[in-house]
């Protein structure tokens, strides 16, 4: 069995330096459109009409992006003379709703137990969550632990639009958690229903079902964005924006 030990040692450390340093490796994030002043000249309607989820809106002369709805379809970027501004980065997590930020506080800063619940996710969000405990991200080094039971969990990670069939299991998982507890909604589906909801079979995100405190936009949010959300929930990262931008201005078509 020593060959495995040697192999592991030989591989060396692959883990990202985030959050101490910014991760600059290419391909860690798809990026996203950014709210910006419209400088394209002509009518911005062509750009706005390209957005399939109504994430783009117009406020005066400003193109406004509803992060909760953006699904990185690149339709506002590719094949347009005046594309939307696209930003790199991954520190996307924010507080949901208008209330004051309610992190779990420093007491959980060194040891936070997380239960992950699939609310009908397509698999990409779950795959990104799974990467968290793999060598490149290794959240255990930050004191975050995945637990198999909600009874041990301080934080509930929910992905997917919450299908009707999963509403009850999700509620039960939430109720089984001891207080204080927080809920982190992962991905566009969990925030707004994404491309699936609301419909006859699924809802418009987690907050319809249980109170959600933090949200991570993205389809799927890259692992670094999820780490940002975890850090946020225990006040180890400052709130970049006070809450998720977007008041559902655009209409879903």
């Amino acid at each position: 069995m020593s060959k495995w030990v040697l192999k592991g040692l030989h591989t060396g450390i692959r883990t990202t330096a985030y959050p101490d340093q910014e991760e600059t490796a290419p391909g860690v994030s798809p990026g996203r459109p950014r709210s910006a002043h419209w400088t394209g000249g002509d009518d911005p309607q062509e750009l706005l009409s390209r957005c399939p989820t109504g994430a783009l809106g117009l406020e005066g002369q400003k193109i406004f992006v509803d992060d909760q709805r953006c699904i990185h379809c690149f339709r506002c970027l590719r094949g347009l003379r005046n594309p939307a501004e696209w930003e790199k980065g991954y520190e996307w997590a924010a507080v949901i709703g208008d209330g004051s930020p309610s992190s779990l506080g420093k007491a959980f800063g060194r040891s936070l137990h997380i239960r992950c619940v699939d609310g009908g996710a397509c698999g990409a969000c779950l795959s990104e969550i799974e990467q968290l405990s793999k060598p490149h991200y290794n959240i255990h080094r930050l004191g975050f632990f995945i637990t198999p039971t909600p009874r041990d969990a301080d934080l509930l990670l929910v992905a997917g639009p919450v299908t009707d069939h999963l509403r009850l299991p999700l509620k039960k998982a939430y109720e089984a958690m001891p207080a204080p507890k927080r809920v982190l909604a992962v991905g566009a589906c969990a925030l707004s229903g994404g491309v699936f909801g609301p419909s006859f079979a699924s809802g418009a995100g987690v907050k319809e079902c249980i109170p959600a405190d933090f949200g991570i936009p993205g389809c799927p949010p890259p692992p670094l964005a999820i780490i940002h959300g975890l850090l946020l929930s225990v006040s180890r990262k400052p709130l970049v924006s006070p809450r998720l931008s977007g008041s559902m201005v655009g209409r879903k078509r």
Binding site: M1, K3, W4, K7, G8, P26, G27, V28, S29, G31, P52, I71, H72, C73, F74, R75, R78, G79, C116, V117, D118, G119, G120, A121, C122, G123, A124, C125, L126, E128, I129, E130, Q131, S133, K134, P135, I146, P148, P150, G160, P161, T163, D164, H165, L166, L168, P169, L170, V195, F196, G197, P198, S199, F200, A201, S202, C219, P220, P222, R253
Partner: protein
Amino acid sequence: MDRPMEPTKEWEFLSQESARRWPGQVRLRFTAGEKSCLVELSTGVLADLCTFLFLEAEFTLASLIIEEKPPDWHLRYIFYGDRGGGPIHLLLRVPQMDPTVPSISRYVHAADWHEREAEDLFGLTFEGHPRLGDFVLHEEWPEGVNPMRSSFDASKPYVHRELEPEWRPARIVQAPGAFMMPIGPVYSDFAESAHFLLETVGEDVIRTIPRFFYKYRGVEKIAEGKTIEQALLLAERFSGTSAFAHSLAFCQAVEKIARVEVPPRARALRRFLAELERFRHHVAAIAGICQSTALAVATSQAAILEEEILRLSGMFTGHRYLFGLNLPGGLTTDFSDDCTKKTTAAAEDLLKKLLDLQEMLRFSSSFLDRLEEVGIVPKERALSYGLVGPIARASGVIRDLRRTLPYAGYESVDFSIPGEEEGDGYARLRILFREAEQSVSIMRQVASSLPAGPGVFSPPAPQSGAALGWVEAPRGAAFHWVRLGENGQVARYRITPPSFTNWHGFHLAAEDFAFQDFPIIMATFGLSNAEADR
């Protein structure tokens, strides 16, 4: 246009057999251009003809598609096989006044879940089927509500009954100490939501009763009335880990309806991206298998490769899971020859590391002990369940749509289809390794001979019609049936994903093995619930 013609060589057997066995009862139509065969038949001959195709002609069931065409229901049974000549569509018309159809699943077991699904979602009755009811729709749905019928309004939330789950399937195992072990729907660390009841007498799992469709998002229903671009998002995102394959199948169906030819460069790039996705999927599945056996270093090694491929995909296309690339008519963006070559070189480098890992695993006895002769699916069972993809190929059913019904220019590609005979967990693992190797080889071939010309195209004008698109997705054969209405909007969309086909046969592998093998068998199947539930 459809015009009757003489059967081509591939279909002669069918016209001869039907003239001999069912004279005057079936009508065969062969479509020029698109290779396929349409058989119109009556309920009387359905079971006989399906049995003939499935058991004698060695065809397998691709899909069962139900369409509402007042005053009738149209049932389209699609089969495909290795004889060439494309898929065969059996079209059965049943009056809506009396929607009773003879069940074929007694003879064609692969149709079992298709019939159960159709009974639940459309309210059709399949006479002779032993287990109808409560399949896709769980107990909170009252009987008699069939969401796939056109009379059902899918736009607003459906008010369900508030019920505690009361699913209690009958216990078969009667022995001292026998009990039912529930697993799910929320279980394990990152597992997808699904529910399993294991009937056991201590150690051995005697029966596995799965319950799926917790993740039923009604994708086929909510696609109705949407434009092609809107529906494309659903096709791409209902299964995020095989997004490119499914969006490709959808685009190919739309392209067939609009009769557009995809230019060679886009077809080549589609092959490239499809293989990149397969490579990533297989590495992720290998990581899953290593994790299920708790071999920590190997898990980490495979997981490092998986993340490297995700980053490579992100670098190459902008999206780690290859979202937003396919468009009817081509791709949304072009890739430079240089970029494609660099990506291939990076993939080759990762493959080398993967094969190193394979060598190490081959000689790790503690690992092999957990996989060898565990979770066996014998070949005859794989055939009768119509299993697809790496799972079928590990059981000796060596069939791959890239070869059987070539698409996207795969006929010009040189690749081998690995096959194994044992049908156990280790055979499935070996298939994953060998297919990953083939995928990188295909990427290399594409990159070294990328045709010049445009790669980005404007989508074709919407046209009405219906067509079947298919791909060999990473988990196996996927079929997408798309019907566009007069306004160019989707009138009917039916997806038959490989996970749906293969979960049907999962119990074969899980039964008669010990409890602690269950997660390992599940990992060697590597299926997705999002893909199966839709």
